[in-house]
Every structure is written in structure tokens, then in C-alpha cells.
Assembly symmetry: C2
Homo-oligomer: 180 residues x 2
Amino acid sequence: MTSETTTEHKPTIGATGRKIIYDEDGKPCRSCNTLLDFQMATGKLPISSSSSSKQPPKTIPTPVSNLIEDEYKQDPPDVELLGRSSWTFIHSLCAKYPTQPSNEDKEQISSFFKMLGRMYPCDWCAKDFTKYLQENKLDNSSNEGLNMWLCGAHNAVNKKIGKKEFDCQLWKKRWKDGWD
Amino acid sequence: MTSETTTEHKPTIGATGRKIIYDEDGKPCRSCNTLLDFQMATGKLPISSSSSSKQPPKTIPTPVSNLIEDEYKQDPPDVELLGRSSWTFIHSLCAKYPTQPSNEDKEQISSFFKMLGRMYPCDWCAKDFTKYLQENKLDNSSNEGLNMWLCGAHNAVNKKIGKKEFDCQLWKKRWKDGWD
């Protein structure tokens, strides 16, 4: 079943200047697009002239659901909120990984990352991550090894989306001990 | 090694009125306490008279690191940011769980929740979750079953920390389809 909103208009480039991702059923993918692009693809935002260009607009309007106060009535997260939340969870999990992990620890953390590559809600992110895992063997041998590996994986994403890379030597300050 | 800040003062009740959780080594646990309570326990905030009472203060000051703009220089998340981030990740993961899961899907999601109960960075949260898992068998049979189970698990936490419970019949609006 395809909803009216997806058949009426199918923009290819969103308000942020990025390509809009559609699911196999033709509906825009909420966890693969920014909220703004998702709202544009579902007809909640007007398709401006800038949407036909790959240049992002200079002023990005505040997404509608950022204004909703009641957290229970919020919409599902877009790709950016999902990304921030997932990195916070994953870095915190790994920051507490043992210095001398047991076999069970090693198996559980390896299974977790394998699962992520299959089940992460943003499909294209999951595929990219699986490719990274294949090319960069997970280091589950120690707390330091795991967190340096994870920092590399995060930086590969930062690089891909044009964000500044993080100095991995500082991982412990950002995710474990704090800055002072 | 115990740092000076933990030996100089060890408040038992934080600025929020909650008990302050310390790790086995005597240091305050960052991922088990709110940022305010953590800052109080590490001497970043003065211990006010309200800290000796279990009543939370009427006005809670803005935590210091909320004011930091550069996301790379942020401190590790406190228990509340970690909780919000983790629920966002877990609900989004489960929202995309298949309607008719394969054996691999079932095994991976079960392993994930088992891992959470052992490795979630907030120790007391992890123990509570393991107890919940033992008393409420995970339903990995379908998308609907898994998400209703997860909603129940989340509500058990909401109840425990005095938050409003969510109407589980609405899980799809909150975590999959949106409200309109």
C-alpha cells in the first residue's frame, strides 16, 4: 500500500541538499533521512527551488517536531537524532568494556557489532558499517583496543558526511573520564 | 588509585535529591548519576543544604557541560542523557524488526538484550533490566510482539523513576510511523 503523499510528489534532493532515501515500498525512509528532508518528501514542507540543486540552503528552518514539548508525542527520530543517540549509546557501552575481557565479553561485543551491521534502522548506514567491519577487524582484546577501533569507525562516518574527525588519542576524555 | 576529589568529600544525596552512586573503586559513577549529582560528588558544585534532604530542590541549575558548544569537547553522558539515547536507539532498532523474523533475527535480538543486561554502562540499570528479562520473557516472535514487550520494559523503568507510563497501543506512532 502506498500512501497518497508518496505518489503525489517524489523529490529527489531534500531541503538540506542531500539525496532523499526511499524505502523499497516507495515511502520516504524516516531513519535514513534528516527530519527536514523527510518532511519535504511527505509534503509537510514546500518543495523550494533550492531542492532541485545540490547546494544546501543558507537558512534551514526549525523542524516541526523540535517544537513539540511532550516527549511521548514526538515523532520517530530522523537519521541525525538516531545517529547521535546511537553513537552515545555505543561509545558509552564500549567505554565500560573490561581491560581484560572474558571470552563471554568478547563474544557478546562481537555479536553486538555484527547485529548492528544487519539490523541498524538506517539501511544505508548499516551497509556502510558492515563494509567497514569487513575491512577493519574489530579489536575486542581490551578496553583500549576496542575504543580505538570504535573511534576509527566513527571517524570513517565523520569523514563520509563531511564532519570534523575526532583525535582518537582523546577518546577517554570524551567518553569515559571527562575533560578535567 | 583514588583521586583526591573522592576522598575529600563523599555526599550521599545529590542536588536532585537522589542517592549518589559510587563505583567499586570509590569514584562517583558518571553513567549511573545525573550530571548535577556527579558534579556535586566530584566537587564541581557546592554541596547545598538541600543535599542532605531527600527532597529535590525547586530550581535545578543548568549543568555546566550543557553550555559547551563543541560536541567533541563534551563530557561523557550522565545517566539521563545515556538513558534517552539508549531508548532512542533500542526502540528504533526494534521498530524495524521484521514482521516474520528469521532464526538469525531472533537469535541476534535475544543476544542483544542479554548483552544489555550484562554490559549496559549504568550498573544498577543493567541489574534491574536483567531482573526484568528473567521475569518477563522477551517476545522475539514478531515486530508487534517485540515492540509491545519493549514498551512494557520501558514502562517498568518509567514507573520506577516516577515518570508517566506510555500507552503501548501507540508504540507505532512514537517509534515507527509518526503521529499524522
